[in-house]
């Protein structure tokens, strides 16, 4: 029993790391631009499908680099053409816009690549467990955690060490002042949106290594990301990371005792956090 529990805690951390990656992109966009990007799951799916299409030409590693970048380019364009029009309006507008986009992306991928799951292959040597006792620690899953770690560290470096990152953080606190100081807020938002979508694309490529590649893949992953943000606290990227890991572990542990509630438990957690600490675990005061 102890071993089973321990396995599931570890396993939950792996699963949670993935949720966190998706939630970070969502959180990044939400914090600076105030847009709840409903189409995030759609971008994730596009990342996965682009990787599938690119693999015959550039191989898995090439696709891992290129597909998220291409997804980010689509993100740039979407922001420039559509999202830019709803800034400063009631949040309902951006909600409706990205909600519609989510549908368009899902049906678009269905139209282009078909409704059926596509077989996605990652290099064989990644697909084997490292030891027969710890069989859930496969090369691929550790690799996934590694990529998430690199992405998270990279993101924090960008945010703390580069001019762009410092502006993004400053803009999150007070966009008007940042603008008055001569920063081009339009470009800042565009870059920020692209960065968020890049993370979605990256999550997409990683996801299809162990999930079926089908048009609904984004829709099934976006809910845990929302929950991760709410549990971790709005406005806090470390909070989002923590939220993702927590819900992963919580659903892992629930499997041991009450398997049919693994999905429900993350919502219960969200409810408890909202009741006891409405701003989320690491959320900043005054965001509600």
């Amino acid at each position: 029993m102890t071993q089973l529990l321990l396995f599931n805690v570890f396993n939950g951390l792996i699963v949670g790391a993935f949720y966190a990656l998706m939630a970070l992109g969502l959180s990044l966009i939400l914090n600076l631009s105030g847009v709840i990007n409903f189409a995030h799951g759609g971008f994730l799916a596009i990342g996965g499908y682009l990787a599938y299409t690119l693999i015959p030409y550039v191989g898995f590693w090439g696709a891992l680099v290129l597909a998220p970048l291409l997804t980010a380019v689509i993100g740039f364009i979407v922001e420039r053409v559509l999202i830019v029009r709803v800034y400063g309006r009631d949040p309902l507008y951006s909600l409706l816009l990205t909600f519609g986009l989510a549908f368009i992306f899902e049906d678009g991928t269905r139209f282009i690549w078909g409704a059926q799951s596509l077989p996605f292959q990652v290099p064989g040597w990644l697909m084997t467990p490292l030891s027969s006792d710890y069989f859930f620690l496969t090369g691929y899953r550790l690799f996934m955690v590694l990529v998430v770690a690199i992405a998270v560290i990279g993101l924090f470096l960008i945010l703390t060490r580069t001019r762009l990152g410092i502006r993004i953080r400053a803009g999150t606190l007070d966009l008007e002042t940042v603008s008055v100081l001569g920063v081009n807020v339009r470009i800042l938002r565009n870059m920020n949106f692209g960065l968020g979508v890049y993370l979605a694309g990256l999550a997409g490529v990683l996801a299809v290594g162990q999930l079926g590649l089908q048009p609904t893949i984004g829709a099934s992953l976006i809910m845990p990301s929302f929950v991760a943000i709410i549990v971790g606290g709005l406005g806090s990227l470390p909070g989002t990371l923590l939220g993702g890991l927590l819900i992963g572990v919580a659903s892992g542990i629930t499997t041991v005792f009450f398997p049919s509630a693994t999905e429900a438990v993350i919502y219960v957690m969200m409810a408890v956090v909202l009741l006891i600490r409405p701003r989320g675990l690491l959320g900043e005061e005054g965001r509600f």
Binding site: L4, N8, N11, G12, I14, V15, L30, S33, G34, I36, F38, Y87, G88, R89, D90, P91, L95, F103, E106, R110, A115, Q116, S117, P119, M127, T128, S132, F135, F136, T138, Y140, L175, E176, S179, V185, L211, G212, Q214, P215, T216, I217, L221, I222, M223, V227, I229, I230, L234, G252, T255, P259, S260, T262, E263, A264, P278, R279, G283, R287, F288
Partner: protein, 419 residues
């Protein structure tokens, strides 16, 4: 630059509302519009085109469309042209499925209702069709109740009951792979009855259950269930999940190397998920309800060629379900020489499908008093590579439905006819 360029702060409530909206998003779907004419005989298909079951729903639709073409080429239904009206039922929202069924019956005045892939939706639709007295064929919803405890005189089913699938595969699994089974089961009507069926079938052969988990429909990560399953040390892990869930579960099980320690198997398997799996994950012992590669069975090759011409791919069991369901409507009307539902339903009691529709070595018939099609079932193993790119299943044993279907009394169906 004006100040309204700047965002309003998003508050927590908005995010929560958004999350709620995301939930709703998964059950709403666009509307499908089809052209229609007044004097045609109308067949209404209320089946998933979006969501988890979009792929299998689409294949059923293709089968229906081929059948409509053939029916019209052969003189239509009672000399009138047959027409297919299509509605998206969604993959999981019974409310939408029922509303679309009512719309098809009340507004479009359909003569036949077809659907649904999802057992729960099929049951809900059967409630509507029997209330309205419309002949209803369920192509691919497997839960036993449809032709069991809640059977109706007007509701016929093409795919097998879950108990039939369980009975077909249980013997092979016990004999070749062992008696201790662990279940990974989807948490809805289909999964519950299939697991009950497997437990019953295995118990009669001396098998036992060492554990099992109910997984929510749409589960993406099966790792924690697989950890539990392995810890229970079963001989066989029985995967009863379907569609995308099956793809996710098998993909992860193979990554964990479980297939090297424990036999992976299940009851119902389909070509769609196998096609979505990388070759190394196309493994395990399963039941197919129809398979395209049946050398020597008459008319199968023509059917495969016709579907390939339409879609470029081989037909799956789902394509066959749609095909048979639609043909059943035409055969019922032409045999009864009437479009009255009661007369047609009576004509289908014990009705044997012609070989060019049945496409099976022993044929298929609707069992009287239960309205359940009794076909052949195909037991075998998934394979990474076969004789052709789409040949992903190796049939080892063709089972006669009549041998494993139990009796009508056992099905629990007590049919009452309108006075």
């Amino acid at each position: 630059m004006t100040s309204d360029m700047f965002s309003k702060r998003i508050d927590r409530r908005t995010v929560i509302k958004t999350a709620a909206l995301a939930g709703v998003a998964q059950i709403t779907s666009p509307f499908v519009i089809t052209a229609r004419a007044a004097d045609n005989v109308k067949i209404g298909l209320d089946n998933p085109l979006t969501g988890t079951y979009a792929a299998v729903g689409k294949n059923e639709l293709i089968g229906c469309q081929l059948a409509i073409e053939q029916i019209n080429a052969k003189g239509g239904i009672l000399g009138r042209k047959a027409e297919l009206l299509v509605e998206d039922s969604t993959s999981g929202d019974a409310g939408t499925a029922v509303q679309k069924a009512r719309k098809l019956i009340d507004r479009d005045k359909i003569d036949f209702l077809l659907g649904n892939v999802n057992s729960a939706l099929a049951l809900a639709m059967a409630g509507v069709s029997s209330e309205k007295g419309v002949l209803h064929v369920v192509p691919g919803g497997h839960t036993d109740a449809i032709t069991g405890a809640t059977c109706h005189w007007n509701v016929f089913r093409v795919c097998n009951t879950t108990q039939m699938e369980a009975n077909a595969v249980a013997g092979t699994l016990i004999k070749d792979y062992g008696k201790k089974w662990y279940y990974i089961t989807p948490d809805y009507a289909f999964g519950h009855t299939l697991q009950a069926g497997m437990e019953k079938a295995s118990a009669t052969l001396g098998g036992s259950k060492v554990g099992g988990d109910l997984t929510p429909l749409g589960t993406t990560d099966f790792s924690s269930y697989l950890i539990k399953a392995q810890a229970a040390k079963p001989d066989v892990i029985i995967f009863l999940v379907q569609g995308d869930d099956m793809v996710n579960a098998l993909k992860q099980a193979v990554q964990f190397g479980l297939e090297k320690k424990i036999h992976l198997a299940g009851a119902q398997q389909e070509l769609e998920p196998l096609e979505g799996l990388p070759p190394e994950a196309r493994i395990g012992t399963w039941v197919f309800e129809w398979y395209w590669n049946q050398p020597g069975v008459p008319h199968v090759a023509e059917f495969v060629a016709a579907i390939k011409k339409k879609t470029g791919r081989v037909p799956t069991a789902r394509t066959w379900f749609g095909f048979v369901s639609t043909w059943t409507c035409a055969l019922a009307a032409n045999t009864a020489k009437s479009l009255e539902a009661v007369k047609m339903a009576k004509a289908l009691q014990g009705f044997k499908l012609p070989p060019e529709i049945a496409l099976m070595p022993d044929g298929a018939f609707y069992r009287a008093g239960q309205n359940q099609l009794i076909p052949n079932l195909y037991v075998g193993n998934a394979q990474a590579k076969g004789s052709a790119p789409d040949d992903l299943f190796h049939v080892t044993n063709v089972v006669k439905g009549a041998d494993i279907a139990g009796t009508v009394a056992e099905s629990g169906c007590k049919m009452t006819w309108p006075a």
